[in-house]
Amino acid sequence: MARPLFILTPARSFSSVISAMIGNHPELMGLAETHLFFRDTYEDMHNIYRARPQTQDGLLRVVAELGLGEQSEVNIEAARALLEENRHAPTADIFADLADWAGPRELVDKSPMYLSDVKCMQRMHAAFPEARYLHITRHPRSTCDSLHQLINAPGRQKKFVKPEDMTPEKMWLEPHLRVLEFAQSIEPDQYMRLRGEVLMEQPEVYLQQIAEWLGISSSQTAVEKMLHPENSPFSRFGPENARFGNDPKFLGDPKLRPYKAKQLDLEEPMSWDPSVTFSEMVVQYAYRFGYG
């Protein structure tokens, strides 16, 4: 039985670079964003693909790379056809096929969409009872600022964003609460939480520990490979018919750069709206996660 690693983190919380780093371990295979556990079957995913076609890119690229040998335009279309042939397949079965193709390497998967509903995580657990889950946090201020900037970037479609969703509760707290709820339902050694900032500041220190937790080599050689997220086949733009599958900013510049966390407060209002401050509950959970 495969033991994939799922990285659980809200959007704009270092998920792309962290997943690519961990997934570059010689015994692991980091994926582009497949979003597979967002729905029960591949057919159910089509509503999402219709609304946001780019959300399919990651899965197409992964099937092309692992199942067909490389990410070419031809293989992307072949992957699309293959998936359509198995339109009614449970998404968990598709993921199991990916795991078989990648074997003996274990898969590393992440999608911020998984944190929108605890059912996504329950699907993972039902399909892979021995999977591991790495919960990555980021300071609520930088998470919210980054999300706000992303959503308001020039040319960005805003039709999927409701104003009532642009609160720290919706953007930062609620996704984390869903992870915490899910974590209560699994064995303690299947779940670890880490502040993304400390991993980014000292990747050598924490990548080695993550490898130790996963029971894979924590040698210097293995860690050195993890320090090069740019070497993943999914750390670059894909062919024209499946360009994305990850944060475009990361795809354009996937190298690991020195990082120093900023000193951030929890008292000041949001940068984009002086009337919005962190609620008491957000502040307390920020303390709980180490942002006091």
Partner: protein, 498 residues
């Protein structure tokens, strides 16, 4: 003096009593080895012992009462669920004349003797009132000015400043001269939690804020510094550390222990978790201090409070917990409303390396830490609030705990952070609380822990934890703490295991 009830819960089979486990070591105590020591001589205000110590052939039992009328005002009235759990009988005017007492218990003839009673003085409002609230700390130590090891105790004050007492026989106590730890007679230094000797000097640190602030500040201080003196009788206290070790989030120094020729000092830090600092206390003060544990052993705010520290088999054991005080608006840390969070434990070695003993695995700057006990926080119970007291007896380290559920502050808010299922589970668990539920655990090696009891001692429903645990040549003494004073049906108990 007569003896009474034997503990009836979790009594071990008779043939287990003489057996040692596979770790070897001396005989271990089972719950059936404990019996209650009867005594009803406490004054009606007494509900706890915050300090008890073995000295010159007798147990010196310090006792304490609640502060003046402040307990639970902020929280206990706010939820129907809290009714009936609210402490009472404390802080009422009819208890004003009653304060801390110290008794001497001689186990050879089981006699009790009152050896100290708080003086009654005009209170801040002019009414007669006990001066001392509780004996909060004690140490036996020979400073440069003592001819032999003598007993020093810190008497926490109801309204004013801590008073240190000195005794050469455990019967007669004299007041040390200086108050306010040398800072002056008008500073707010109501109590101390720790007294520790090293290099011929006595060390302590103030705790609490009396002046109009009460129990919500019982764990904090305006002076989070380490103080020393080599002449406690005459005072001469002086600070030997930078205030708060330079970190304004350090709100107090809660524990001070001497280990391998160094002082180890643990701070309360509500925002990020407790810190442990170390110094050889040599040279000219302020001494050089090194931080060896940060951020509540990298658990964060749920380990704000270093509740206990002790040395056992070459390691320093430190426990972390979250104070349950509902501090909304005071320092913006009231994570307890989003609890419960179980107590945790680490152990530190002389080379500053450390291990997680009980707690959730974590990544840290010092490596990946898994609990050596194999148990999560609270020894696998999320409702274990504090790992409160340690004592080594017959080669075993014993650990006393307290409970969250007798005072479920985590159910006083709306808990919008929880799903319906999570909330219902919390309510069901809390409703299933069957007092008394607190534990006594033991270990021979610090890694493998066994429960002596998870159901407290006896059946007193007001007892919610063990506040004192004292090893003596005559056995192990256990002093539970009560939600109610003796005038309200609670009061102090003492259990004797041998």
């Amino acid at each position: 003096m007569t003896n009474s009830d034997s503990a009836a819960t979790e009594a071990a089979p008779e043939n287990d009593k003489q057996e040692n486990d596979d770790q070897g070591g001396e005989r271990k105590l089972e719950i059936g080895d404990f019996r209650r020591v009867d005594f009803d001589g406490w004054n009606p205000s007494i509900r706890t012992s915050q300090s008890t110590i073995w000295y010159k052939g007798a147990l010196v039992v310090g006792t304490g009462r609640a502060p003046l009328g402040t307990f639970g005002k902020a929280n206990a009235d706010s939820s129907p669920r809290m009714q009936g759990m609210k402490p009472s009988g404390s802080g009422t005017e009819d208890l004003d004349p009653y304060g801390a007492q110290v008794f001497r218990f001689d186990p050879t003839d089981e006699s009790w003797q009152l050896v100290y009673d708080s003086p009654v003085e005009p209170g801040l409002d002019g009414k007669p009132r006990a001066r001392d609230r509780s004996m909060r700390a004690a140490a036996i130590y020979q400073t440069k000015h003592d001819d032999e090891p003598v007993l020093y105790v810190g008497m926490g004050s109801l309204e004013r400043q801590v008073v240190f007492l000195r005794s050469e026989d455990g019967v007669n106590f004299e007041e040390c001269k200086e108050k306010g730890l040398g800072l002056g007679e008008d500073v707010d230094t109501p109590s101390v939690r720790s007294l520790t000797g090293l290099n011929g000097k006595l060390y302590t640190s103030p705790t609490g804020k009396n002046y109009g602030r009460g129990i919500l500040d019982d764990n904090h201080t305006d002076y989070p510094m380490v103080f020393e003196t080599d002449d406690p009788l005459n005072g001469h206290w002086r600070p030997v550390s930078e205030p708060a070790f330079g970190d304004p989030k350090n709100l107090a120094i809660n524990e001070i222990v001497a280990f391998e020729g160094h002082l180890y000092v643990a701070t309360i830090n509500s925002r990020r978790g407790y810190q442990v600092w170390k110094s050889d206390a040599k040279g000219e003060p302020p001494y050089k201090w090194t931080k060896i544990i940060d951020d509540g052993a990298w658990r964060g705010a749920p380990s704000s409070l270093p509740a206990a520290m002790t040395v056992f088999n070459g390691a320093l054991y430190v426990t972390g917990a979250l104070p349950r005080q509902g501090r909304s608006g005071l320092d913006s840390s009231h994570l307890d409303l989003y609890g419960p969070f179980p107590a945790e434990m680490i152990r530190i070695f002389p080379d500053d390396s450390w291990e997680l003993v009980s707690g959730r695995p974590r990544f840290t700057p010092d490596g990946y830490k898994k609990p050596v006990s194999g148990m999560l926080g609270g020894f696998d119970s999320r409702y274990t609030h504090v790992f409160w007291r340690f004592a080594e007896y017959d080669g075993w380290l014993y650990l006393a705990t307290s409970e969250w559920r007798w005072f479920p502050i985590y159910l006083t808010g709306t808990r919008d952070d929880l799903s319906d299922e999570q909330l219902q589970k919390l309510i069901d668990d809390t409703d299933a609380y069957d007092a008394p539920e607190f534990g006594l655990w033991r270990t021979r090696d610090g890694a493998k822990w066994e429960a002596v009891t998870r159901k407290g001692f006896g059946d007193n429903p007001y007892n919610y934890g063990i506040r004192e645990l004292v090893s003596t040549p005559h056995g192990l003494f256990v002093v539970p703490t009560s939600t109610k004073s003796s005038s309200s049906g609670g009061g102090l108990e003492m259990w004797w295991g041998k």
